[in-house]
Symmetry: C2
Subunit: 593 residues, 2 copies
């Protein structure tokens, strides 16, 4: 059975040594003293490792069960959900007005990583609720907020997001679900939605569905889509539950992973819905929270990679197989542990350097979302919007690859479900797909974000990297060579790719889009390179100051050097591919494939 150890020390390192949260001007950050954040992370760590992680395999094996319209979650989920609610975790970064603790999103993200790593399928019940509540918070009327938010912030009621239909996922303009206006200002919603995570279950008294639908007679396509609140049980004026609404689960899907989460087909049959936000502006309302939601999915990529890595590492230290090529390291044992072998280390270092770099990237992204929301920092908002598809696409692609590498360390045992490594890959796989498949992320990045506001944000990114290098060069020759030089080279590759798009994408947009996946990945590498340079700097500083655990900081530097030497150079390959253009990609007629 796999285990999970909350990476509290690492999270603290990023928050305090790297991001220096208490120095930030963002409102609320001054309260994030190391002792305070440590207490929260330790507490969340206990819950996630002690309660949620042991249920991860149970959820996978048992899955959800639909009987007579009721979905039963796996054994133990209900009790664990009660514990989560009692701890107030779902409302950690929600407004106090609605029962939350009003902490910055960066803390919600740090805690969220642990929840996701311990049990992704379980955590989705509250994750979707958080997303739905955020949309109501941003677009709801006061009455809607007062009716739904207190119960959703506590997770007494949970939430869902209903976008996909059988014939359309990415292209929501094709949707068929209809909303018929009623005299009382409500709507009757009719249609079928699929892939609805947490769509129906037995852990909450009510489920608040946010549903995209087309108001009859509205504009065609995506411009006629509106967003509705459709509660499973209607809510009376006094806040108590009224009659059952016309929405029911049709079936639950058999999936590759996240079996513990009920993925439902939801049928709306004249269900009462309330317009959320403006008519025909449903996409805008749904996507206000997009940066957060996509960052949350990127975090899942990191989280599954983290827990898979932890277990691969334990196995590599434990399993005796073969001898070190440079001579037996444990001659008294029948064989050396796997970790002596260079190729096993290569795999472990790939995983470790990814996970720690990704953690910094995610928390940096979350801190920009805080700056955007709490300080109305437009530059931070622009930058995090630019980086959101990178966070989502790169971290989930790479996170999945890392779970596959972790599984590989186990050899044959990695393929046997009992050992739990297969579940990490199967669960991680979904993050590449939902919340906008990664191809859509790449398209969003290259087709939309790069040029947004006249390309201002990508230029700001390059300036930031340049400034970082300039400010920190020349103080330590090793640091320059091991961290800054590779970062400079990778950043230059990325700039050249952007240049290629500018010069060739005008003539033919396919020249840009054929390279979108490569661009997203090279951008991700540059971001992780920047994170490692920042972490390396922090570690160097701490070693110079002689504060804290020297071995910890030495390890950070060694891990960073690995990333810079072995992973960051991938930018050159991506650039080569991008510069080969669209011709070979688009050469064939569809019929000739």
């Amino acid at each position: 059975m796999p285990s999970y150890t909350p990476p509290v020390k690492d999270l603290q390192f990023v928050l305090h040594d790297v991001l220096k949260v208490t120095d930030s001007a963002t409102p609320g950050y001054d309260e994030l003293e190391a002792e305070f954040t440590s207490a929260i992370l330790e507490e969340a760590g206990k819950l996630t490792s002690g309660v949620l992680a042991p249920l991860n395999a149970v959820g996978d094996k048992e899955g959800c069960r639909l009987e007579n319209g009721v979905v039963y979650t796996p054994k133990g989920f209900k009790e664990a959900f009660e514990q989560v609610k009692e701890g107030g975790w779902p409302g950690l970064d929600m407004p106090e007005q609605y029962g939350g603790q009003n902490m910055p999103y960066v803390m919600g993200t740090a805690v969220g990583e642990m929840f996701s790593a311990a049990n992704q399928a379980f955590t989705m019940y509250q994750g979707l609720t958080h997303g739905a509540a955020s949309a109501i918070l941003a677009h709801g009327t006061d009455q809607q907020k007062d009716t739904f938010l207190p119960k959703m912030v506590s997770c007494e009621w949970t939430g869902t997001m209903n976008l996909t239909e059988p014939h359309c996922g990415t292209d929501l303009g094709l949707m068929r679900t209809k909303a018929a206006p009623q005299d009382d200002g409500s709507y009757k919603i009719t249609g079928q939605k699929i892939f609805i995570s947490s769509g129906e279950h037995d852990m909450a008294d009510n489920i608040i569905h946010l549903v995209l639908a087309k108001i009859e007679g509205g504009p065609e396509g995506i411009k006629g889509v509106s967003l509705f609140i459709v509660p499973k049980f209607l809510v009376k004026e006094d806040g108590s539950l009224g009659e059952r609404n016309g929405v029911a689960v049709g079936s639950i899907e058999e999936k590759m992973g996240i079996h513990g989460n009920s993925t439902c087909v939801m049928n709306y049959d004249g269900a009462t819905g309330y317009l959320l936000g403006e008519e025909h502006k449903g996409m805008r309302a749904m996507f206000t929270m997009m940066n957060e939601a996509r960052l949350g999915v990127g975090m899942q990529g990191l989280a599954q990679a983290e827990v898979a890595y932890q277990n691969a590492l334990e196995y590599a230290k434990d399993r005796l197989q073969g001898r070190a090529v440079t001579g037996a390291e444990y001659p008294d044992k029948p064989a050396d542990p796997l970790i002596v072998h260079p190729d096993i280390r290569r795999s472990l270092m790939d995983q470790k350097s990814f996970v720690e770099g990704a953690r910094a990237f995610i928390l940096w992204g979350a801190s920009m979302i805080d700056a955007a929301h709490r300080s109305e920092d437009k530059a931070a908002d622009g930058l995090v919007s630019l980086l959101t598809p990178v966070i989502k696409g790169f971290l989930t692609d790479q996170g999945y690859d890392m779970t596959v590498k972790a599984q590989q360390v186990y050899g044959g045992h990695g393929y046997i479900e009992e050992w739990g490594m297969s579940q990490f890959t199967r669960d991680a796989r979904i993050a590449m797909i939902y919340e906008g498949a990664n191809g859509v992320q790449a398209l969003d990045l290259v087709g939309r974000k790069l040029a947004q506001d006249g390309g201002k944000h990508v230029m700001a990114f390059f300036d930031m990297v340049k400034d970082f290098i300039k400010q920190n060069a020349g103080q330590d020759a090793d640091f320059d060579k091991q961290f800054l030089d590779p970062l400079k080279a990778a950043s230059k590759d990325l700039q050249q790719a952007g240049m290629y798009f500018m010069q060739n994408g005008m003539k033919n947009p396919n020249h840009a889009l054929a390279g979108s996946n490569d661009f997203m990945h090279m951008f991700g590498h540059v971001c992780l390179g920047l994170m490692w340079a920042r972490m390396g700097l922090a570690a160097t500083q701490a070693l110079k100051d002689g504060t804290g655990d020297a071995a910890f900081y030495e390890t950070k530097l060694a891990t960073g050097r690995y990333y810079m030497a072995r992973q960051l150079p991938a930018t050159a390959l991506h650039l080569t591919r991008i510069q080969s253009g669209a011709d070979t990609v688009m050469a064939l007629d569809a019929a000739n494939f």
Copy 2:
């Protein structure tokens, strides 16, 4: 439900246009006229697409069931296995003396690809039998051959390979299974073996287990391992079945994939076994067939990629979602099919160019095995031994990645088991692990094969590439630029990596082994680059000659250009990583991870 279309035209192209099998001096190749091979491939194609492919999802869903010591295979497997036997497919490349058809291994491989693509779990029952029969053929006494081979060649009896034990897989010197010599020359085998594919099932009258065990009192470690034939039912002198032997299935494993194959824990409790080959030379006997077995697994990587690609392509042509960025291609439809989008094409071209390149690589490898076995061609034997870990490791790593890409084309539907794309990835995953995990393949390549016979074989490989370029350069400027130049550059990268190992591996072998995985992958790319150059040449020639289907050859050229422009340049990244050496890989103490 996914479907499978046998790639007969492509197999014929490789056999006849590229490898030109009938021009070969290898005995038996003169019979492989295009009409003859076409008839065989068409026939196998019908069986695989019509009978085996429809059972693939059934096997995945139902799995195998153990009840009172009996393993029941999924519904329909038994009847299908009868059809396979009736068709004589298991003995296609086995000696006529034992009921086979004595065809070259290259034909067994071409047919094998279709079997594996249609139903990998099913095909393993005969695949393991083939492997066990080959070992008996190579090392058995005449009596052993006469007793077992006729029944195994027909698959009336099936076979297994028993290597792994709970505490050792790669490091077989640690094994504990014992063989106690008996007065009649037989042995009593006692111990436990795990991960035994096809270990017990209901499709054959008898199961012939080949078991590695240590003869009591023999040398320690790997030098004391011998190989034994242990039939499930003892065989009487007249060939009829006698009493049940002391071997029984303990349990069947729950695995990530290949559910239709029974992966068994086998308990040997004083089971009667017969020495196969010499005492203490068990590893040698087991590994005589290693090149074939590993090529067979590499082929599984290709096969799953092929069937996954076929279905992704169909979906991409069928599913309407979004509009081409260059303007609607089907304005009369509500949206354009996925295949208009550059990033979808990028993914499909990755898959297509891999699959077709891998097919050529596999069949070229099989033709070298034929040359080695049928003509005692030492150069071919040396070269295919060198390339075997590349075929196994590279093609299964890449093959798996391709199934993941194919699954991604389906978006959310790719994650739902009903659509079948998940099964392809889950089934493909095992090929990276069994028959020597891919890390072990990389170690075999760099630690052993490179230096074998004084490095003769790798030098022969480079000479061959150089000669190919020299012989074909200067005739067609496009071909030179699009195919030969990239091949030359990639081959140079590979040579430089080999040089780095020579110069640095002597001082510290970790400098070589830390780059073993990268070397295996860059070698794979160079091989696929060579295959594409050969295919490109064949297509160019056919177009000049005006023979056959011009569109087919144009498509080959376009696909090859894609590979050369977008995939082959990966060698440069691998070289960079290799040249960064072992320092960053080995820097951390195990305790500091």
